[in-house]
Amino acid sequence: MSDTTYVQLLDLACGGLLLTAVLVLWRRELVVIIGVFAAQGLALAALVEVLAVHEGSAELGGVAVGILVLRAGVLPWLLRRALAQAGPARRETRPLVNVAASLLAAALLTLLAYAVSQPLVTLAPSPATHAIPVGVTVFLIGFFVLFSRRRALSQLVGFLLMDNGITAVGFLTTAGVGLIVELGVSLDVLLAVLVLRILTTRMRETFGDTDLDELRELHD
């Protein structure tokens, strides 16, 4: 792969990450959000695959396949199942921050990410490290989703978005964190999602809803 194609494909994958992160904020329907999250998993896997081909590392290629299976396949499938159990409440009815304001907040977060990751970029300027702000942006947007949404499922998507951002930054900075570390992190995420799913189901069985704001009041 020539250098210009490498840079272009890398940039394209980063653009995909950024676009999907914004779409999660933009759309209200949980079904769409989960689909967008799957697309982001695809973009992340593509990013790692591009890095793997550039480095010529088979191990990294294997990690990319693992990421593809987990983040574009298993996790969205688990979320969809949780949503199917949730019944007709398929929309994020009232996000704490309205959509227009949260999009503007995302714009500010992008600039913040750019500002804070400058020292990292200057340490070792390369096409991969130049894309670090994208990973940081995805992380910050994920954090924003985590605290600005009411439904447990959208908060879960926010958590996973954060994890996608962390993974992206990890691969962009180190070009390979090692198979074992990545495997450990992936299993961790999978377990967290499974546990949170069970928690969501229990919450709904107990309170009839997963709107976390309603849980502030004590029930008999």
Partner: protein, 315 residues
Amino acid sequence: MSALGIVGGVVQPLLVIAGSPVLVGVMRQVRARLEGRAGAGIGQPWRDLRKLFGKEPITPRGTSEVFRFAPLVLVATTVVVAVVVPFVTVDSALDPVADLFVVVALLALGTVALALAGLDTGTAFGGMGASREMTIIALVEPTLLVAIFALSVRVGSTNLAAIIASTLDDPSRVISPVSLLAAVALVVVIVAETGRLPVDNPSTHLELTMVHEAMVLEYAGPDLALVELASAMRLTVFLGLLANLFLPWGIATSASPLAVLGGVAAVAVKVTVLGAALAVGEVFLAKLRLFRVPELLAGSFLLALLAVAASFFLA
């Protein structure tokens, strides 16, 4: 000012004026066929315009010059944009005017003139339409500026001819994330600015939802014809701008008759395909609630801003 620029300056406005009602006709025909209707044919907008131009000019009682001049301002600004923006030839007739900020300001001037005319009539619908149009344009203009600005960052100039020429030199730029984000943002704002679904429905006069139609409700005869022509021309200009910023191939780079003819054919095909795609998209869309429109436009503004940010990140 080069010979190529002058040829472009003459050919482009003629092409836009003659072609824009045909474009509207094509779009209506595509929609009609997809909805299972026969449709009125692609020449119908021109026939409507001829009929309207033949009527006597008439204005509502109590309206001032603002109302009478608005259609002229609208048409004039659009014609200037059609002259200067590189549609057919890569050189511009008036190079300093073919600037991003000038072009966007000219297009905004037309919109503002029409909104003032809507207010001038003093009717409820005119004021409502004007207020809605201002809500939309307040979000559309910054997005338009920022999206095209993202493309101008790597060129180092806000001159549209320079941006298009540099894309011709380096075609691989088209699939960069900067271009893709800017393209998505531009498509959304163009849909909003030209009053198409899901922001405004050009084929209805439903008082609860109309935006553009509410402002022009009081126009009749030749004035209405001018407004209709201008809005068709604006649609053509916006689609032509979108096509040439991202896919400039086929544009004439020399003043030979064959190259100019090729440029005319290329821009006609590109705009027609984009228009048809827009019409097909409209069939599957419902109109958005008015209060949801700022959400859509804020999203496209964010995408435009991300395009600018990405042009710095990933440089």
